[in-house]
Symmetry: C2
Subunit: 501 residues, 2 copies
C-alpha cells in the first residue's frame, strides 16, 4: 500500500504531508473561502468534506464553497445540511442544497461556468483560503493530475493560499495523460487559445502546483457518486427523432455533412436520451466537444459513432463506471478532459462552430428560455454552461417535453417567468411534438412555428388566444404582450396547480 | 472631375460601370435581399436607396434590408416610409422605421451584431441578391475601401450575388489605410483571430471584391447624417463622476491601473457624456476598443487622454465631422475601423479584457437589463453589440438615469418587462444616484445595493415593499418575486402614465 502511494506522489517531500481526513479538515477555518474540485458529481473531493461535516456538527463553521459545478452528496447534501455552507457557486444539482437555497439559508451565485476563472483572477471570488482537489497522482515535475473532472481546479490551485489533495486510489494511473491543462494568462496579456480542432492537446497532463502550498494529502478510495440516468421513454425518443430529422434537413440545405459538427450536449436524462438517438442513425465519425460526457457518449464510442470526445467532466452511471474506469486504456486516446474555462470558452466554441443541445425548463412564444427557476422564483440547478454554448454555437438547440406535471403545466408559456437565454440566442426548439427553427425570424414570425410545432395540443388554443389578444392590445407592436396576463399561467399554476384556464 | 474618379477606381474596366443612382436602383427587384453598408448612420449607401425610394413610390417593391447597424434617413426613414422594406435587421434607430416596426408593417430581426456574419455564411440570411456599399476608393488590387464604417460590408461583399458601389467623393483619400479588413474562415476551419492588442492590424486595407460582381458604380458626394448628441446635463455628469470613482476604487483594489483597460462604450448621449467625463480626470493613455466612436473619443484624443481607438464605425456631430474628416491625416494613425464581426467578437473581447459601458432602458432589482423594449412590447432601437460586449468583458457596466418621464417612471423596476441581459451578465449598475457593484453576489445580496445606491428616492420604499412581500410570499426563495405584481409597475405606467402607486 505504501509503495502504491509513494508511486503516485512523485515529490518525495510531499509524502510527509499525508494525514487523516480529520486532520486535513481541521485546517479549514470558519469564514474560509474554499475552492473544490468536482464537476457534475465527478472528480470531487469526498473524504475531507465528510470530515468537515462531522466537525460542523459540533462546531460553528460557515464557509463559502466554489467548485467546477455540482458535487456529490458529501458537500451538496451532507455538509450543506450541517449548515456549514454560507455561499455556494457556480452550480449545484442536489435536492438538499437546493432546498436550503430556496429557504434563504444558503446564498447561491448561479453563473456562466466559463466566467468563474476570470472572477478568481480578479479577486472577485477570493481570496481563496483553501483549494481541496481530488487527484490521481502528483508527478515528479510537480503536476497534480486530476481524476474524472478538471472543472475550476487549475485556477483554484493557482490562486489558493493552501492546497489539500485527496489522492484517490480508486482510479487507475492510466488516467494520467487523459487531461489537458491550459491556463490562459491575465486578460490583456493573453494569447489566443490554440485549439483548432476538438482533438488538439495544448497544455500539460496536470496542474502545475507549488509544493509549498500543499498543507495536507489525504488518501481516499471512492468512486464518484454515479449519475442517475433515467431510461429514455417514448417522448425522449420522439425528441431524438425530431432532432435527427432536423439535422437531415440541415444536411439537405448544405449547412452540415453527416459528420455534423462538434456536438455539445447538456447534462440530464433528456439530453442523454437525445444523444442515444444517434446510435441507430446514419450519422458517423461524430465529435463531441462538451462539458460533461454522460453514458450516451461512451455507448456511442462503443458503437463506433463517436470518434473523439472533449469534456471537462465524465459523469456516468455505476454500470458505465465499471466499464469505463475498469478499462480506461481503451478510451484514453479518444478523450480529453479540459479545464471548464477552455471547454466552455466562447473563443473556442465559436471557432469550432459547435452544435449545442441543452435542456429548457420552459420556453415562451418568442423563444426566450428559462433554464433555472421553477415558477420564476425557486432555483432548480443553475445556468451551468448553457449560456456559454448557446450564445456562441453554430446551432443552439433547446429541448424540453412540451408539458410537465402530467399535463397540467405547459412548458411553452406566454412569457417565461425567468430569463436565462433571450430570444437573441435561441435557434431551435425541440419538443416531443416537433421542431421550431427560429433562425433569422422576427418575434411575430416565431410565434406560429413555436405554437404549431412544439406546443402540446391541450395548450395551443390558449396560447393563440393570449397572443391574439396581445396583438390587439399593443397595435401589433414588435413583441406583443399583455403584461397583465403574461405571467398569469404561472400564477394559476402556483394557486391551482394548473396552467389550464 | 473625371480624373478624380478614375484615380479612385484602380481597376479600369470598372470605370465603365459608372451609372446614375436611378439606373443602379433599377437593378433591384421586388423580393430581393439586400445587404447594405452602414453602421449607426455612418458609411451607409445614400443615393441609390433614395433613388430606390423614388421608384417605390410608383411601383410595388418590397425588399429585405440587412446592414451593419442603423442607417441614416435615406433608408430607415425615406425608403421605409414608402413601404418598400419587408424585413430589416440587425439594428435600427430611426423613429420612422421604429414606428413601422411597432405597427407590424416592417418585420425586424434584432440580433447580436457579432452574429450576422455567421448567419450569412450559413445562408440563414440570404441568398443576398445585392450588396450596396459606400466606398472611398477601389484599389488596383481589387480592394474596396469603405468610408466611415465597415460593419457587415465584408461578409455582404463576399456572399452577395451582385455589388453596387457608391463611390463617395466627400471623403478624403486619406481614409485609405485606416480600415483593417479581416474575414474569418468558415466555422470549423478557422484560425484564431490574431489580435493581441487593440492596435494590431491583422488584415487588408479594404474588402477584396470580385470585379465581375460589380453591376454598378454610382458617384456620390454626401457626408453621413450627423449624430445628434445631446449635451451632458447635471445627471449625466453625476453618472460620469460615479463611474470614475468606481474606477478609482478598482485601482485601489489592484484590479486596474490608471490606464484602465480597453474601453467599449455604447451609442447615445448618456454613453457619450460619460466618456466626456474622462477629459478632466487623472486617467491617461486610454485605449478604446468599441463599436462606434462618438464625439467624446475625438475630444479625448485631442485632450491627450486617448492614445488609440479601434471601432467599426465613426458617428459624430456635424462640427466634429468637419474637424475629423477635414483633417483625417491627424487621426489616421490613432484609429482602426474593423468589420463588426471583429470589433464585437467574443474571442477578442474576452482576450483583451474590455471594460464595457452600455446604456440600459431599465434594470430590475436582481440586475436583469432591458435594453430594447419600451413597456416590454415596443421596440426602441435594438440590442446592438451590448450583448457581445457585456457577456465577454472584464467589467460589464450599465448606465441609466434612475427615472424617466419627469419622474413618473422608475428605471429600476421589480422585474424588467423584456430581458436582453440577464443577471448572469451584469456586473455594475450606475445611475445619477450611485453605483451598485453586483459581481460575485447572490440575487438577494444584490437587492439592497441596487435599491439603496441606484434608485430614485421616490421609488425606494415602493421597491422595498415589493421585495419584502415577495420574500414573504416565496418563503425567501432564491429569487423572490410576486408574479401577480412583478409587471404591475409597467401595467400602471401604460394605464395611468406613472409607476407611482
Amino acid at each position: 500500500m505504501e509503495q502504491v502511494i509513494e508511486k503516485r506522489i512523485g515529490i518525495s517531500s510531499l509524502v510527509n504531508k499525508i494525514v487523516s481526513a480529520e486532520d486535513a479538515a481541521a485546517l479549514i477555518q470558519d469564514g474560509d473561502i474554499v475552492g473544490m474540485s468536482g464537476f457534475t458529481r465527478a472528480g470531487d473531493a469526498k473524504v475531507v468534506p465528510l470530515a468537515l461535516a462531522q466537525r460542523a456538527k459540533n462546531e460553528k463553521i460557515k464557509i463559502d464553497v466554489y467548485t467546477g459545478a455540482s458535487l456529490g452528496p458529501e458537500v451538496d447534501q451532507i455538509l450543506a445540511e450541517t449548515g456549514a455552507i454560507r455561499k455556494r457557486g457556480p452550480y449545484q444539482g442536489d435536492p438538499a442544497i437546493r432546498n436550503l437555497i430556496n429557504k434563504g439559508e444558503v446564498l447561491y451565485v448561479d453563473a456562466h461556468l466559463s466566467h468563474n476563472a476570470e472572477l478568481v483572477r480578479q479577486g472577485i471570488i477570493g481570496p481563496i483560503n483553501f483549494a481541496i482537489i481530488e487527484a490521481t497522482a502528483i508527478t515528479q515535475d510537480g503536476f497534480l493530475v486530476p481524476t474524472t473532472s478538471v472543472g475550476n481546479s487549475p485556477i483554484f490551485a493557482q490562486y489558493a493560499e493552501n492546497l489539500i489533495i485527496e489522492l484517490n486510489l480508486a482510479h487507475s494511473e492510466s488516467l494520467v495523460g487523459v487531461h489537458d491543462i491550459y491556463i490562459p494568462d491575465a486578460q490583456g496579456e493573453r494569447k489566443p487559445i490554440p485549439i483548432l480542432n476538438p482533438t488538439d492537446r495544448i497544455g500539460d497532463i496536470g496542474i502545475k502546483i507549488n509544493p509549498d502550498k500543499v498543507k495536507a494529502i489525504v488518501i481516499s478510495n471512492e468512486q464518484d457518486a454515479p449519475s442517475l440516468i433515467v431510461e429514455p421513454d417514448n417522448e425522449t425518443q420522439d425528441m431524438a427523432n425530431h432532432l435527427l430529422d432536423f439535422f437531415r434537413s440541415e444536411i439537405k440545405a448544405g449547412r452540415l455533412t453527416n459528420k455534423l459538427a462538434p456536438l455539445q450536449s447538456g447534462v440530464g436524462s433528456v439530453a442523454n436520451a437525445v444523444l442515444e438517438g444517434f446510435k441507430t442513425s446514419e450519422f458517423e465519425d461524430l465529435i463531441i466537444f462538451s462539458e460533461v460526457l454522460q453514458d450516451a457518449v461512451f455507448n456511442l464510442i462503443d458503437a463506433g459513432k463517436v470518434s473523439f470526445a472533449s469534456c471537462t467532466s465524465i459523469t456516468i452511471s455505476e454500470e458505465l463506471q465499471k466499464k469505463v474506469y475498469g478499462n480506461i486504456e481503451k478510451y484514453a486516446d479518444k478523450i480529453i478532459i479540459r479545464p471548464q474555462e477552455i471547454s466552455n470558452h466562447p473563443e473556442v466554441i465559436r471557432r469550432l462552430g459547435l452544435i449545442a443541445i441543452n435542456a429548457a425548463l420552459e420556453v415562451d412564444i418568442y423563444g426566450n428560455v428559462n433554464s433555472t427557476h421553477v415558477g420564476g422564483t425557486r432555483m432548480m440547478n443553475g445556468i451551468g454552461g448553457s449560456g456559454d454554448f448557446t450564445r456562441n454555437s453554430r446551432l443552439s438547440i433547446f429541448v424540453t417535453k412540451s408539458y410537465a406535471k402530467g399535463g397540467k403545466l405547459s412548458s411553452i408559456v406566454p412569457m417565461v417567468a425567468h430569463h436565462d437565454h433571450t430570444e437573441h440566442d435561441v435557434h431551435v426548439i425541440v419538443t416531443e411534438q416537433g421542431v421550431a427553427d427560429l433562425r433569422g425570424l422576427a418575434p411575430k414570425e416565431r410565434v406560429p412555428l413555436i405554437i404549431e410545432n412544439c406546443v402540446h395540443p391541450d395548450f395551443k388554443q390558449q396560447l393563440w388566444d393570449y397572443y391574439n389578444e396581445a396583438v390587439e392590445l399593443t397595435g401589433n407592436a414588435h413583441t406583443p404582450h399583455n403584461l397583465e396576463k403574461a405571467l398569469s399561467w404561472h400564477v394559476n399554476a402556483a394557486k391551482a396547480g394548473t396552467m389550464k384556464f
